[in-house]
């Protein structure tokens, strides 16, 4: 085992390190720049595993060392000596060794240990997570309270509602979302009409495809898909916008001017989304019915006038409203989640990414959860 490690990488410097375990001798030759540190580190690792009782380090053929490799050599020598080995350096010692003496006098003894998998660290981790949850719930409570308070002041004097800001957000979250919402609603009703017609045909009940599409779109699919789309589009945008403002201290700047960030930033966004989501739902409903009409005329040869007549008998007066009343609630949930998560961003861009994701996932979850509650509620009151 006397093969020598020679630096042959790009920009090779001809540095060579060779450890001879039999003789307890480490021979270093040539100039050792930082690029040759791996060569040195490998030989030093061999020395460490061999743990010789005595080591001769031959530096007589060695050139200059960069600080990095010199430090590795210095550390290895110190470790061996601490373990009780005799280490002798022959030849000029690297010029940085004197500097290392000064360095070690400062800064503490060792790098902090990697957290291990002990019970104590597990418990500490659990505690930290619990504390984070408690703090998050507390913040959500404060958020809700401050938002209600500013909503109260705005209620008393509508002048304080920032109309231009509300309009801008309605444009961004509503008008600009129309194409995608329309396309999604159209496609989903095409899908349900197609599946429905196929399933109902064996019973000769194709005509009920109209009922299926109309009830499905108006009661559930139109509003739900719109809300999910808006959660992805706007929930993330709200969280990211407010998060960046938080990181730039813009929120603090507002407060230092005596402005209430909940009134300036949060409320217009919430109001805008609560207003916009029902409007988008109407668009989605219309497009959904159009898709249904198109597909039924194609699949079961039902002409337009008959589709409308069938629709009239299938749909109760309340069907449309049963879908639409859910829209403002969904809008509120999405807007609150997005703005809350945005305001929770602090410290770093990593937080921003994490909380934006959290905002989208939670708002979609909340929308679906609320929809389930609505379904039970409507069933109970026979709406």
């Amino acid at each position: 085992m006397t093969e020598s490690a020679r630096d042959t990488g790009p920009g090779a410097t001809g540095f060579a390190a060779q450890f001879d375990p039999g003789a307890g001798r480490l021979t270093l030759a040539g100039h050792c720049p930082m690029a040759s540190a791996p060569v040195l580190a490998r030989e030093l690792a061999r020395v460490r595993t061999a743990a010789p009782a005595a080591l001769q380090v031959d530096l007589s053929a060695a050139g200059g060392f960069d600080i990095g490799p010199a430090w590795l050599l210095h550390g290895a020598v110190a470790d061996l000596r601490a373990a009780g080995s005799r280490v002798d350096l022959h030849g000029p010692e690297p010029r940085h060794f004197a500097y290392f003496g000064e360095l070690q006098a400062q800064g503490g003894d060792a790098l902090p240990a990697e957290p291990g998998g002990t019970f104590a660290t597990w418990l500490a981790d659990l505690g930290r997570r619990l504390a984070t949850h408690v703090r998050n719930s507390y913040e959500a409570l404060v958020f809700g309270g401050r938002l209600l308070a500013s909503a109260g002041t705005v209620w008393r004097s509508v002048k304080r509602l920032r109309i231009p800001s509300v309009v801008r957000h309605m444009h961004e979250t509503g008008v600009q979302a129309i194409p995608i919402v329309a396309v999604i609603a159209f496609l989903i009703s095409v899908i349900s009409a197609y599946i429905g017609a196929q399933q109902l045909r064996p019973y000769g009940a194709e005509i009920f495809t109209v009922d299926l599409v109309a009830l499905g779109v108006l009661r559930e699919l139109g509003v739900l898909l719109t809300a999910i789309m808006v959660a992805g589009r706007t929930g993330s945008a709200y969280a990211a916008e407010l998060g960046v403002m938080k990181l730039n201290d813009e929120v603090d700047a507002l407060e230092s001017m005596g402005l209430n960030p909940y009134e300036v930033l949060v409320l217009p966004r919430v109001v805008a989304l609560v207003l916009v989501l029902p409007l988008l739902t109407v668009v989605a409903d219309a497009m959904g019915l159009a898709g249904g009409a198109l597909l039924t005329s194609y699949l079961i040869d039902l002409p337009w006038p008959q589709f409308v007549m069938r629709l009239d008998s299938a749909v109760a007066d309340t069907t449309f409203w049963a879908g639409l009343v859910k829209a403002p609630v969904f809008g509120l949930l999405i807007a609150l989640t997005g703005t809350l998560r945005g305001l929770q961003v602090r410290e770093s861009s990593r937080e921003l990414g994490r909380l934006t994701t959290v905002a989208v996932v939670q708002s979609i979850f909340l929308v679906i959860f609320a929809d389930a509650l609505f379904a039970i509620f409507f069933l109970e009151i026979d709406f």
Partner: protein, 260 residues
């Protein structure tokens, strides 16, 4: 100064469309010196720094680093030159998703194949070199003060034992105590390691305390001299810069306290 200069800049011209930023800039940076670059806003300090770093090719002229012209190099040659550089950015530019230790280890891990033990030893060395407590290694950049961020940035810049260190506004945003500690650190590293340091700075105290020579960017050219020479220069902008109230105070302090 018998050794050949480390960086030789000759007749560099940089322009953005019709706007000429540098019109024939020439200077040398000698090995082992601390070289300051000064200039008003928009005078092209950052453009000059980018040109030296090889991030921007000048319209004409040459930049030689250790005797080799980097303006005509292809990417792989340029990468080899950049290995010889350590750079810190004005706002630290630490990677916010990595701990301090991982930030410092990143250039080492990317450049070479080292075992964990050696890697953590090298991280420890860099932390010690910039005077940071070792227990800061596990922290994230967001948990550090401004002064510590600058030190971690310096530790990362030193990770591969560069021959040349570029510091962009190293003391901007630091309180005077932290700034002067940073100055001392820079001087100490130059003294013990013989590093060559090029710094862009607006901090007159830093300029007076650390820089051997100062290049002033005015009128699309460079005026290069020792600090005393620059201070004595009659150019109106330079007079204004160094003989304004702040400049006089910094230089007076320096001359009074430079008896060491």
């Amino acid at each position: 100064m018998a050794a050949p200069p480390l960086i030789v800049v000759r007749d560099v011209v940089n322009s953005f469309g019709p706007q000429v930023v540098h019109d024939g800039v020439s200077f040398d940076v000698n090995a082992g010196e601390i070289f300051g670059i000064v200039g008003g806003s928009g005078s092209g300090k950052s453009v000059l720094l980018k040109t030296l770093l090889g991030l921007r090719r000048p319209d004409s002229g040459t930049v030689e680093v250790e005797g080799r012209d980097i303006t005509g190099m292809d990417d792989s040659e340029l990468r080899a030159v950049k290995r010889r550089y350590g750079v810190t950015f004005q706002h630290g530019a630490l990677f916010s998703s990595l701990t301090v230790a991982d930030n410092i280890a990143l250039p080492i891990v990317e450049a070479m194949d080292l075992d964990e033990a050696a890697l953590s030893r090298l991280v420890e060395l860099r932390l010690r070199m910039v005077g940071l407590p070792l227990d800061s290694a596990a922290k994230f950049p967001a948990q550090l003060s401004g002064g510590m961020v600058k030190r971690v940035a310096l530790a990362r810049a030193l990770a591969l034992d560069p021959a040349i260190l570029f510091l962009d506004e190293p003391t901007a945003g630091l309180d005077p105590i932290a700034a002067s500690a940073f100055d001392e650190l820079v001087l100490y590293l130059r003294g013990t390691l013989g590093l060559t340091i090029v710094m862009v700075t607006h901090d007159l105290d830093t300029l007076a305390r650390t820089c051997d020579r100062v290049a002033v960017l005015v009128d699309r050219k460079v005026i290069l001299d020792t600090l005393e020479g620059i201070v004595a220069n009659e150019h109106p902008w330079i007079r204004h810069y160094f003989h304004g109230a702040r400049g006089r105070a910094a230089i007076a302090l320096q001359e009074g306290g430079d008896g060491t």
